[in-house]
Amino acid sequence: MFDLRFLERRPLIVGLEIGTAKVCAMVGEINAEGALTIIGIGQSPSRGVRKGEIVEPALAEEDVRAALSEAEHSADVEIRSVYLGVSGGHVVGFNNRGVQPIVSRDREIGEDDVNDVIRNAKAINIPAEHYVVHAIRQHFSVDDQDEIRDPVGMIGGRLEVEMHVIHGRTNRFQNAIRLVKGMHLEVEDIVFNGLASALGILTAEQKELGALVIDLGAGATEYVVYARGVVKHTGVLAVGGDHVSQDIALGLKVPQGRAEKLKFEHGDAIFDESAKGLTHTPPHELGLPERPLNIEHLRCVMSLRLQETFEIIREEVEEAGWLNQLRGGVFICGGGARVPRILELAERVFELPAFPGHARGISGLASALDQPEFSTAIGLVKFGAGQARKKNNRGSLRRLASWSPARIFSNLI
């Protein structure tokens, strides 16, 4: 059943995330048993990206090149194509509905009807300069019978589909795509980073229970709500770790780089009595005496920002009506997951259990899989693997704009 020629032809799946703090390339391989293994990682500090979007293409290109070449060395392969993660404050997600009457004589729903209804759902009113990154089918319903996963073969008069559409500015996506294409690499597909992280972290069971994945990146914070097995809500808040560092830099009057270090060494997501009166005197590079830094202020500034970020996300999710459907809890990934007591803060704000996001259902370099920062890149590889399998199964190379995460997993496992 498994097509070995496919493996020979396209053995590699590479996820490339051009992040604000780092550029990360993750190389995955589908082995003979059909399981996905991570065989290499390349990363490079990122300089040309702010808030998840490329602002200095020349610098970004250098960093991407460095990350990719490291990945090639580490996996000992040649990278020809990548799955590119995209993000930024301009990316928005919303739910839409499409309707299609079934006109065939026997009223049996066929593949064509499904494609038509999806096309109807995609004919949506988004701004002209926006591009649809994902249109994810959530559920079908046939003649008011809800929650149907696959309507093909059913009998009915009217087919409806609910879709989650993620779109953003075409030009901004093109910046990243052009940068990668300029290196003579092919972009297989672009993937919303938040979705990739969720794919990397959540198990099918957690998706069914309902889960909120928050990717606390350096430039932007992406959040994705899964409920009843499908994506229900996505969003990006262009506030991230950089903002925390900048706040600290301003509040404590230290350089940004120092603020960055202080954040992890002495920071805390929760400001309480334990921080009262604490100070820290860092050693001076030149051996001169340094003024002591007030840890109390550091934690106050930091916790205010992090709390605000969570509160905004909570507000958004609550307004969309999904907060009480998250029985699986909140999953935190991205560099922000390293901040001490961040899970406790999330538990307080969301009033839900919070967990660190660990990549699942994948084997390979243990060092990569444990890090919260890599969940997006791993998710990209997973996404790519799902797409590759799907293409292979259907024997079609056209871009499948709609896919069901559940299906990808059933294909993978």
Binding site: R50, L237, A238, G251, N294, C300, I312
Partner: protein, 437 residues
């Protein structure tokens, strides 16, 4: 509130303000006079103390608790209008000032800014008071314009220092009082009117904090209006009685010079409105006035308090505290070229201009390097000041710099993250006006 700094802790004491009373610390001569005006009202609950750097002035005040700072530095002759001197003198007396503040959860600082003592000492006292865990409100006057720009500058600096350390600052620019008076107003009356306004403001806050009103106003509500280095607060109080008093009150408020004839209301970010009247205060009256006020100040956060007095009089007192956001933090500049032309280039050294006026320009001793201007930019600049050159050289003007310059830092090159009118690129603690000290 769990993440609030020390102010949060002191807010726990908010209810017993009444029992513990408030400490009024008067600073400088102006402060002592305001305190005297306060004392005259006979309000209970205040304990007064005076801090001054002028030995003879402090001798002449009637208050029992006095602290003379600067025995060494000024030899008792006062700071002579030098805030730095007064500040140093106050710093030396830190333990004594702490002694004055100890044991009072609420401290009111009254002072006149612009001179030496008030400007220099008030921020020091506010800082020390906050260190003892007290909540600090400062009520200050700013000098008349005719007192000279130096005093104005000093007052602004002192005000800014005060704002960064106190829980709330209410500043009354004396200049605005002139609008209340006419040419025949005597000097004594003018200053008295300023004192009385500040006195009313203190009494208003004190009343809100201690007298349980019908519509209660909490400590946090008051802080939200007065707190933060970004806020510029204004206070106005009108008293009316008789028939259709609500209409007349409204008209008086909208024309109130301290609210710059309603302009402050339009720009207000938060409003605190407190009603005080006898039992006959009608819901309709409150609603009418509040409707009017909220429609004038669109989008502002509004806190309403009402207090019913036992006396059966028909007088209605409305106090309005409005805070407007003064600091504009890296708002997107609509036309950066226009901005640069007015500030940096000062229409003085454009390369395109030499073409126009010929090469016979006298060389400056210090010639700044020619700015990198594309022809389009230069054209744009030129078109912005038509004829400006021919009508003689414009004197470059030194524009006042904004108080708190918050750089965009890392986010210089990207669009600001704005959500519901808040620029999230600004630090949360600054936006919420939380004081780090």
């Amino acid at each position: 509130m769990s993440s609030q700094p020390s102010a949060g802790a002191s807010a726990n004491f908010a209810p017993p303000f009444r029992a513990s009373g408030a400490r009024v610390i008067a600073i400088g001569r102006a402060g002592a006079e305001i305190a005297a005006a306060l004392q005259e009202t006979g309000t209970t609950g205040f304990t007064y103390a005076v801090v001054d750097s002028d030995g003879s002035a402090i001798e002449s005040t009637a208050f029992p608790e006095k602290l003379f700072v600067g025995a060494r530095l000024t030899r008792g002759f006062g700071a002579g209008g030098d805030p730095e001197l007064a500040r140093t003198a106050a710093d030396e007396e830190t333990p004594a000032i702490r002694g004055l503040c100890q044991g009072y959860p609420l401290i009111f600082i009254v002072a006149g800014l612009g001179g030496g003592s008030g400007t220099g000492i008030a921020p020091v006292v506010a800082r020390i008071a906050r260190e003892t865990g007290a909540s600090v409100f400062a009520f200050v006057t700013a000098p008349f314009d005719c007192e000279g720009t130096r005093r104005q500058q000093q007052a602004l600096l002192g005000l800014h220092r005060l704002k960064t350390v106190a829980d709330g600052v209410l500043c009354l620019p004396n200049e605005k009082l002139l609008l209340l008076s006419d040419d025949r107003t005597t000097l004594v009356d003018a200053f008295r009117s300023g004192r009385e306004h500040l006195r009313d403001a203190v009494l208003c806050i004190w009343g809100l904090l201690t007298r349980p009103g019908l519509l209660g106003v909490s400590f946090a509500d008051i802080c939200s209006v007065l707190r933060g280095p970004n806020q510029e607060s204004a206070f106005a109080r009108v008293m009316v009685s008789g028939p259709d008093r609500s209409d007349r009150a409204m008209a008086a408020l909208l024309n109130h010079p301290l609210l710059t004839h309603g302009d402050t209301l339009r720009r207000a970010e938060s409003l605190l409105v407190s009603f005080r009247a006898g039992h006959d205060l009608g819901m309709g009256e409150i609603r009418r006035i509040m409707d009017e006020l909220t429609s004038k100040s669109d989008g502002a956060r509004v806190v309403v308090g009402a207090e019913i007095r036992d006396q059966a009089d028909t007088e209605l007192t409305i106090s309005v505290m409005a805070s407007t956001r003064q600091m504009v933090l890296h708002e997107p500049v609509e036309n950066p070229v226009a901005d640069r032309s007015s500030n940096l280039l000062a229409a003085d050294n454009l390369p395109a201009r030499d073409v126009e006026s010929g090469p016979a320009r006298t060389a400056r001793r210090l010639a700044p390097p020619a700015p990198n201007l594309t022809p389009e930019l230069a054209d744009q600049l030129l078109s912005q000041s038509p004829g400006g050159r021919r009508s003689g050289r414009k004197k470059p003007q030194q524009v006042p710099l904004p108080f708190e310059v918050v750089t965009k830092g890392r986010f210089e090159k990207c669009e600001p993250t704005v959500r519901r009118g808040n620029n999230l690129d600004q630090p949360t603690y600054l936006r919420r006006g939380i004081i780090l000290n």
